[in-house]
């Protein structure tokens, strides 16, 4: 029995000792070398390996390894799909940063650029990517004048509409004139909604119930820009006077009016557009493959659904910003091989291969996309080129996103002035805190 006691205690002591050793043995500065003498570069993706998108990444990584066999460089892809969505992947990033196990390249959601860069997670790419190369991207992940990330693919959003319902309501021909080059106005948008309502259909799912994560901010912020409003100044440290300006308010007021008129509501079910209960559905490019493949019984072909751009107020604005690549400030100080992988993954060839798989828009102007004029993909791309405007660049982005969600959730019966002044104060306080932070 004494032996048992001894072994229990030995076991627990061994565990504790093991902690001590892990704690002391931090990561070394040398690059990882595998058994064949290859320098290993790790790249972490936010999707599942078995997904279409994951397979596209994997193919490009394998192609990189084949091309760099002579140089003895080997890229290793890590897939960390947190099924809970973007915030779950963020947990992974933060954990890796704190553990010191960050991969050399990581993917990240564009609006987090400032927060991550300021926290020292990301490596400054300004000198590594030439100005002529930077020119070729539709958008870049910049903060404080420095380049911190290159986008993987672009996304844009718009209003998917049910052509069958539109024909029945007699408004199909009317909306054919509303294109990315010549978007409809706020008033025309309301007119279409009113016709749909008269027809007896719920006009539009604006996704105002999607306020638990980044969905509502991503899809709805363009309305505020379109109304001439804004959220922060160029530095990202001032919200007062922007977030609570009259123009910003009028953008939110437009959405509030839609709710008030019964054109949209918080009670629309997630699948109501696909089951033909709703006429229009605000969503991003990722809905295209769903409509093409998943809902064949209601949407047999593209003759049954189409895509309309964002409506314009005083100006035209549309959603942009998708996931991007960044090189991390991890324990490998030498970035020469890492940049080769980054260039490979953002090349025209990779960009085309990945967007062909995902249905998203290529990030580079030099990619021959081959979209037919008037197709949903073409509308999204043109919209991106002409009216795309990124979400506010601020270190306080997580707080911005929360306050935006709070305003949207409160639009239904809350007082808009109160909502916006609370949101502004909260965001401004956070900005002040971050600005005063040392380092």
């Amino acid at each position: 029995m004494k032996k048992l006691l001894a072994s229990i205690i030995a076991m627990i002591l061994a565990i504790v000792a093991a902690f001590g050793m892990i704690a002391c043995g931090g990561p070394s500065g040398d690059p990882d070398i595998d058994e064949d003498g290859n320098t290993v570069i790790k790249i972490m993706f936010h999707v599942d390996k078995t997904s279409v998108e994951g397979q596209a990444y994997l193919k490009r990584v394998n192609a990189f390894n084949l091309a760099h066999k002579e140089e003895k460089i080997k890229a290793q892809a890590i897939f960390k799909a947190r099924t809970t969505g973007a915030s779950g992947y963020e947990t992974e990033l933060i954990n890796n940063q704190i553990e010191g196990t960050l991969a050399d390249i990581v993917t990240f959601d564009a609006p987090n650029t400032a927060a991550y860069a300021k926290s020292g997670l990301f490596y400054d790419l300004s000198s590594l990517v030439s100005a002529s190369e930077q020119e070729k991207f539709y958008s870049l992940n910049k903060y404080d004048g420095k380049l911190y990330g290159l986008p993987i693919q672009e996304s844009s959003a718009g209003f998917f509409y049910n052509k069958k319902i539109f024909r029945a309501a007699g408004i199909y021909d009317m909306v054919q004139g509303y294109t990315a080059e010549n978007p409809w106005t706020f008033d025309q948008f309301k007119e279409v909604c009113s016709r749909l309502k008269t027809h007896g259909t719920i006009p539009v799912d604006m996704r105002i119930d999607a306020t638990k994560d980044e969905m509502a901010p991503y899809l709805l912020y363009p309305f505020i820009y379109a109304a001439g409003g804004s959220f922060t100044d160029a530095t990202g440290y001032v919200a007062t006077g922007y977030y609570n300006s009259a123009a910003t308010k009028s953008g939110f007021q437009f959405i509030k009016d839609l709710i008030g008129a019964g054109y949209t509501s918080y009670a629309i079910g997630a699948t109501d557009f696909f089951t033909e209960k709703v006429g229009m559905y605000l969503s991003s490019g990722w809905t295209i493959p769903d409509l093409d493949n998943k809902y064949r019984e209601n949407f047999a072909s593209r003759d049954d659904w189409g895509l309309l751009p964002y409506p314009k107020g005083t100006v035209a604005a549309s959603a942009t910003g998708s996931w991007s690549y960044a090189i991390t400030n991890n324990h490998h100080p030498d970035k020469t091989n890492v940049i080769k992988l980054l260039n490979w993954m953002t090349s025209a060839e990779s960009s085309k291969a990945i967007t062909d798989a995902t249905g998203m828009i290529p990030v580079r102007k030099d990619v021959n996309h081959g979209y037919a004029v008037g197709s949903p993909e073409y509308t999204l791309l043109k919209q991106l080129e002409l009216t795309g405007k990124e979400r506010p660049v601020t270190v306080a982005y997580p707080v911005f996103s929360t306050t935006f969600n709070q305003v949207i959730a409160g639009l239904g019966d809350g007082n808009l002035d109160t909502l916006l002044s609370t949101a502004t104060t909260t965001l401004q306080n956070e900005m002040n805190r971050l600005q005063n932070m040392r380092g």
């Binding site: 933060i94 704190i98 926290s119 020292g120 009670a267 997580p398 969600n405 609370t422 932070m437």
Partner: protein
């Protein structure tokens, strides 16, 4: 962090040794005999518990206390500076703006004030109801206890479907039968917290019912018989026998339910997200400390909350304890 921990450990060991010496010195006075072998065995057997308790109970408490006075930002663990009472100043400044923090405190108080009497009252009534022989009461007991079995996250998701807005939600569909128009229960500030109070009491009261039952079973039957002989009715028996007999059970339940209610986090987090109508103080702490990464500030809030909960608990003990 390792250095700080080692210093804390050293302080602990020195303090403990101090007490050991004190105990040894006063052993004779207390007529206590310590044997070397028995003492060594005791220390050895305590070691696993002491190591784990030090690492995962004492250290988090001490660090939380310490962080409350620093500017610890989650992503900068190597750059922690003392800023003394700045976090507390920020706390009260934030409170003055009547923003999310104000709502968090308000909602937490509403929840506590609502759920503690409701849950305990229900539990007591149900316990008295099923506290009789017979097959029926046994079945009822299982029925009342059933919601306890499903965890808080399951409860939250279940009620999210029940309270769904529009005609797709169970509650709205039920009310629709009587011609009542659908309501957005969780988004309306007037109904959001009451709904969460009701579903929490529904989920939890079966557990306290069991504790009350265990308390009831410890009351001696003779007391009831004596009361019956005196011609006492049900109500008098309750006041004279049952209630005094349940007093210690009641103190235990009110303290545990109160502490649990103050820490409410799961329901709003899973059901509505970070929204003003349902945000609670624990949720606020989590959001500030983890999502926004202000560990120092979050720890300061935790410290204030400890003082608040501890104070109320102390008052509860004073008020309800037997004289």
């Amino acid at each position: 962090m390792l250095t700080t921990t080692l210093i804390i450990l050293a302080v602990f060991i020195i303090a403990f040794l101090g007490f050991v010496v004190y105990d040894l010195a006063t052993a004779k006075k207390r007529k206590e005999v310590y044997r070397v072998k028995s003492t060594l065995t005791a220390y050895l057997m305590l070691l696993p518990a002491v190591i784990l308790a030090f690492l995962f109970i004492m250290l988090p408490i001490l660090y939380s206390l310490g962080y409350a006075f620093t500017d610890y930002y989650l992503l900068k663990p190597n750059d922690i500076n003392f800023i003394w009472f700045q976090n507390f100043v920020d706390f009260f400044k934030e409170l003055a703006t009547k923003g999310t923090l104000y709502n968090a405190i308000k909602n937490t108080l509403i929840f506590v004030v609502g759920v503690v009497p409701l849950q305990i009252g229900l539990a007591l009534l149900l316990a008295l109801f099923v506290n009789r022989p017979g097959f029926g009461s046994k079945i009822f007991k299982v029925c009342f206890f059933a919601p306890v079995v499903i965890s808080l996250s399951v409860t939250s998701f279940l009620w999210l479907q029940i309270l769904a807005p529009g005609e797709g939600g169970l509650l709205n569909a039920l009310l629709g039968v009587f011609g009542i128009p659908p309501h957005d229960w969780l988004r309306d500030p007037k109904t959001a917290m009451p709904c969460i109070i009701i579903l929490s009491a529904w989920q939890g009261c079966g557990y306290q019912m069991l504790i009350f039952l265990s308390g009831l079973s410890n009351i001696r039957k003779e007391l009831y018989e004596a009361a019956s002989l005196d011609g006492a009715n049900w109500w008098r028996k309750f006041w004279l026998v049952t209630w005094p007999g349940l007093r210690s059970t009641f103190v235990y339940i009110i303290i545990t339910v109160f502490i649990g209610a103050c820490r409410i986090l799961t329901q709003p987090m899973l059901m509505t997200g970070y929204q003003d109508q349902t945000v609670t103080l624990s949720y606020y702490m989590y959001q500030q400390g983890y999502t926004y990464r202000w560990v120092g500030y979050s720890s300061a809030v935790a410290l204030l909350m400890t003082i608040f909960i501890g104070g109320i608990t102390l008052i509860q003990r004073r008020v309800f304890r037997e004289k």
